[in-house]
Structures are given as structure tokens and as C-alpha cells.
């Protein structure tokens, strides 16, 4: 199973196994990782699951889709070039070792 490492705003990090097809958000939320709120449960309707994909993974993971891009503009924390809404990143085997930095504010 591919793993994901989350760096929370409070400085802690958590590494979790993910099922292929699970979103980066749902793995975090189901396991209580601090900092991802995900109010809408993954419907790309709230922009509260904002993460910064670690640079080396950014090309592999890719950029946001159109709706996600619009929603990111309204996110609480400033966007960076590697900003994504983690509910829209679906895990693949080739993302093994993925590192994301959770945005400091979600609300």
C-alpha cells in the first residue's frame, strides 16, 4: 500500500498507509490527522482540506482541476504553486512516499 506523510501545522508528522483510490484527505480524516477539516467530506465544495504538495512530488501528482482551482482561490490560507485540495488527490501506487504539508488555516 502506498504511504502518505502529513506535516500538520502544529509541527507533528504522521505517516499512514493508503488504499489505492483513497483520497489524501480521507486517509487523513479517518485517522484523525490534525489540520485537515474537510467539511464537505470530499465533494470539492468547501476548500477546507488544503495542502501544499511537497515539491519533489508536485509534477507527479499534478495540478488542480478547474473546479478545484476555483475553490482553491477561496481557501483560507494563501495558495502556492503546489496547492491542492487533498480530497481531489486520489492515491496511486506511484505516489508511494507522498509528502504533503497541511495549510496553516482551513477556515
Amino acid at each position: 500500500m502506498p504511504t502518505i506523510t502529513y506535516f500538520s501545522p502544529d509541527g507533528t508528522s504522521t505517516t499512514l498507509d493508503a488504499r489505492v483510490g483513497d483520497s489524501v484527505m480521507e486517509v487523513a480524516v479517518k485517522n484523525g490527522v490534525v489540520g485537515i477539516v474537510a467539511e464537505c467530506g470530499g465533494a470539492c465544495a468547501c476548500a477546507t482540506c488544503h495542502v501544499y504538495v511537497d515539491e519533489p512530488f508536485s509534477d507527479l501528482v499534478g495540478g488542480p482541476g478547474d473546479l478545484e482551482d476555483d475553490m482553491l482561490d477561496g481557501a483560507a490560507s494563501d495558495r502556492t504553486p503546489t496547492s491542492r485540495l487533498s480530497c481531489q488527490i486520489k492515491m496511486r501506487d506511484e505516489f508511494d512516499g507522498l509528502i504533503v504539508h497541511i495549510a496553516p488555516e482551513q477556515l
Binding site: 483510490g21 485517522n31 484523525g32 476555483d70 482561490d73
Partner: protein, 413 residues
């Protein structure tokens, strides 16, 4: 240590448990529900779960280890059937006969689908969509169903209709009112959705009365209308609203209104020691506008549950939150911020025919809500504006080339 019992293990119930632990409560928490699954999200049932893109595991709100690590006891598949309460301590009895003692109580029982009561309503293939079991029953018939008739043109009905049409089925929506989604959106939005679904090949019939559901060998075959017309059906999906589960609250002698559990801004029921949150509840308007409201949404379940948990621990924070909601019908993404009830003015921004537009609602010159279709930026700006008490001058809002963000007028000091 005072044991806390939460009756109802859905979105709200789960959030009460989570929030209690986040506040530092270390005593026993029992979350009791009548479904087999641990708390899960319902919105995907009419969307990704129905289409097969999501499975049960992806619906679950938390892994079992989450509850174990936080010492939250989740009792599934065993409904609480009676509760006794002295005002200080109580006991809940479940269907299996288990007795759960408690010193504090949160009621988050949710609602159940309103049942249609006409001839043929118990035929196989007449379905509702509220929980996982309903969704599985719908999925079981889905592949082989060619004709889908939806009774009720609200969110549930339209989401299923959109999915059925996308799957190439013949779809008919029957709505008794003269417009779709009459309870939640303005006539402009109702018209938009009717046109959008008709464009996609759905037969939308407004102002119709269903007189009977017809069948053969126990299975549904069609729906008969009051005017005599019969619409063929392999599935009849009924989405005509929900009824709060207020039975236990009533037995506890708590105040009800319109069948829902009455709470104040602190999520307290008429017995201040008992809190309630979510779909089964009626409450003061969460932005301080007049009237009592019942909000059937994930947002309300979550935000009100947080208030309920705080109140149980003696932390008084009034429930103030911008109500928001979304509905995905095929490629139409509706997002609503605020409550448009009581509007006296609307401003349309963009062209509905583009399927990319918004309707802003005003009362006495101030912005109170927005409905957007495929216009996430407008939705996000207004959601934030409402949270800050800001407004957008109505005479400037209709120009889609001017960003709403630049038009915000803060709340009066």
C-alpha cells in the same frame, strides 16, 4: 466521571463524540446507532456510491482505530428503544435489551424518509434513499432498470434522476408543486433546474398528482397519475421529504415543534441538561435572522454538534454559522450559502442558459444568501462575506466581469 450517551450515530452524533474529546473530556462516551455501519457520510449515496465510484469503506467517516484510540464506544445495529431520565442520571435500553447508563445525553437521531401512502406503495421496486441499505437496494435494481420514475422533485430525486439519465435510462420526475426544489430555492433556480434536466432528456412534470403505483407479480411496472396517464417504471424512487425521529424526545417530555426537537442557540432542548443536534432539530436562525429553522445539511449536523458538545461540558458558545449546502446533479454543481427565506430582492449574475451563474438574495438591501450553479468563486466570496456580516451592493452584483470580492462592504461598525 459523568458518562455521556449520544443517541444516533450519524454525522451529528459522531461529531459530538469527536468534539467532546477535542475539548478534553476524558470520561466514557457511548455513541449508539441503529445502522450496521459505523458513522458514514450520506451525500455520496445518491452520487458516487450509486454510480459505483465509491464503496462503503470510502463512506465511513472514521476508521475503527480512530474510535478505539479515543476510547469512544460505538454501538451499531442496536437502536435505543427507550430512555428514562431522572434529570440527573438515566438509562437507555436498546432493541437487544442492553442497558446503557448515562449522566449526560445528546440526541442526534436524524430523520427518516417520508413514506408515500398510496395504492401500490409496497410493491418491490418502490424505493427511498436515505441510508446505506436504501442505496444498496437501489443499486441492486439499477443495472437492469430502463425506466426510472422519481416522485418528488427535490434534491434527492433530482440527484438520482441525473444519475439515471447519465446512465442512459428513461427518466421521469413527478413533482406535485408548480416548481422543482420549491422548499429550498427561489423560482428562478427552480426554472433553471427544470430546463437543465429537460435539456438532458429528463421528462419533468410539474403540478402532478400520483394516484397509484401499478405492479405485476409484486414488482412495480408503472405510476398512474390523477389525469389517468401511466408512466412505465422499473424503479420508483420516492423523495418527498423527511420526518425527524422525535419519538424518544417526545417520550422524555421534551418540547417539539412541527415534529422536530426544539433547541435554543446552545443546542439545549427544553430540558437544559439534554442537548440535540442535526436533522431532527428545529432551532433559532443561526445568523440571528427571525424565525425557527430546520436545516437538513451536513454543515448543520457538524456545526450544531460542536455547539452541543461544548454545552454538555459547560462551555457556552451560541450557534452562529453561515448555513451552506451543495447538490451535485450530473455536471450541475449547486452551492448555496446563507438562507434565502424572507428575501425581497434577487440579483441574477451571469446567464442561466450558460449553466454557470448565481442568484444573490437580499432583504432590506442587505445580502442574505446566494445560490450558485457551477460558480464556485461567487459562492466562496459570499460564504465568507456572510460570515463577516458584510454585504455586496445589489446594483453592482449582476456584472459577472466584476469580481464579487472587490465589491464587499463590511458590516456597519
Amino acid at each position: 466521571m459523568r458518562d455521556i450517551l449520544i443517541i444516533g450515530a450519524g454525522q451529528a452524533g459522531m461529531q459530538v463524540a469527536v468534539s467532546l474529546r477535542e475539548h478534553g473530556f476524558t470520561g466514557p462516551i457511548t455513541l449508539a446507532g441503529n445502522e450496521v455501519a459505523t458513522p458514514y457520510q450520506r451525500p455520496p449515496l445518491s452520487k458516487a456510491y450509486l454510480s459505483g465510484e465509491a464503496d462503503v469503506e470510502s463512506l465511513e467517516l472514521r476508521a475503527q482505530s480512530f474510535y478505539d484510540d479515543r476510547d469512544i464506544t460505538v454501538r451499531c445495529d442496536d437502536a435505543v428503544v427507550s430512555v428514562s431520565w431522572t434529570g440527573d442520571v438515566g438509562t437507555a435500553v436498546t432493541a437487544s435489551g442492553a442497558q446503557i447508563p448515562f449522566a449526560q445525553l445528546a440526541l442526534t437521531p436524524g430523520s427518516e424518509p417520508r413514506r408515500i401512502s398510496i395504492s401500490g406503495s409496497d410493491l418491490s421496486g418502490v424505493l427511498y434513499l436515505r441510508d446505506l441499505a436504501d442505496a444498496d437496494a437501489l443499486k441492486a435494481r439499477w443495472a437492469t432498470a430502463n425506466n426510472v420514475v422519481v416522485i418528488g422533485g427535490g434534491f434527492i430525486g433530482l440527484e438520482v434522476a441525473a444519475g439515471a439519465r447519465k446512465a442512459g435510462k428513461t427518466v421521469t420526475v413527478l413533482e406535485a408543486a408548480d416548481r422543482l426544489i420549491a422548499r429550498a430555492v427561489s423560482p428562478i433556480m427552480s426554472d433553471f433546474f427544470k430546463n437543465a434536466h429537460v435539456r438532458r432528456g429528463v421528462d419533468v412534470r410539474l403540478g402532478v398528482q400520483v394516484s397509484a403505483i401499478l405492479g405485476a407479480h409484486g414488482n412495480v411496472t408503472g405510476v398512474e397519475l390523477a389525469d389517468g396517464d401511466v408512466v412505465p417504471a422499473d424503479i420508483v424512487l420516492v423523495g418527498i421529504g423527511v420526518v425527524p425521529r422525535s419519538g424518544l424526545a417526545e417520550k422524555l417530555g421534551l418540547e417539539l415543534a412541527g415534529g422536530a426537537i426544539v433547541v435554543n442557540e446552545f443546542a439545549q432542548t427544553s430540558d437544559p441538561r439534554i442537548v440535540a443536534a442535526g436533522d431532527a432539530v428545529t432551532m433559532p436562525h443561526p445568523l440571528g435572522r427571525p424565525g425557527q429553522v430546520r436545516l437538513e445539511s451536513v454543515q448543520n449536523a457538524v456545526d450544531q454538534a460542536k455547539v452541543a458538545a461544548a454545552t454538555l461540558l459547560g462551555v457556552t458558545e451560541p450557534y452562529r454559522a453561515v448555513p451552506w449546502f451543495w447538490s451535485d446533479q450530473a455536471d450541475l454543481k449547486l452551492q448555496i450559502a446563507g438562507l434565502s427565506t424572507g428575501f425581497d430582492q434577487t440579483v441574477v449574475r451571469g446567464n442561466p442558459d450558460d449553466e454557470h451563474f448565481s442568484v444573490l438574495y437580499y432583504a432590506e438591501g442587505r445580502l442574505i444568501a446566494i445560490d450558485t450553479v457551477n460558480d464556485a468563486p461567487a459562492y466562496m466570496v459570499v460564504r465568507r462575506a456572510l460570515a463577516q456580516g458584510a454585504t455586496i451592493p445589489p446594483e453592482l452584483a449582476s456584472d459577472p466581469t466584476v469580481s464579487l470580492k472587490t465589491l464587499l462592504v463590511p458590516a456597519p461598525a
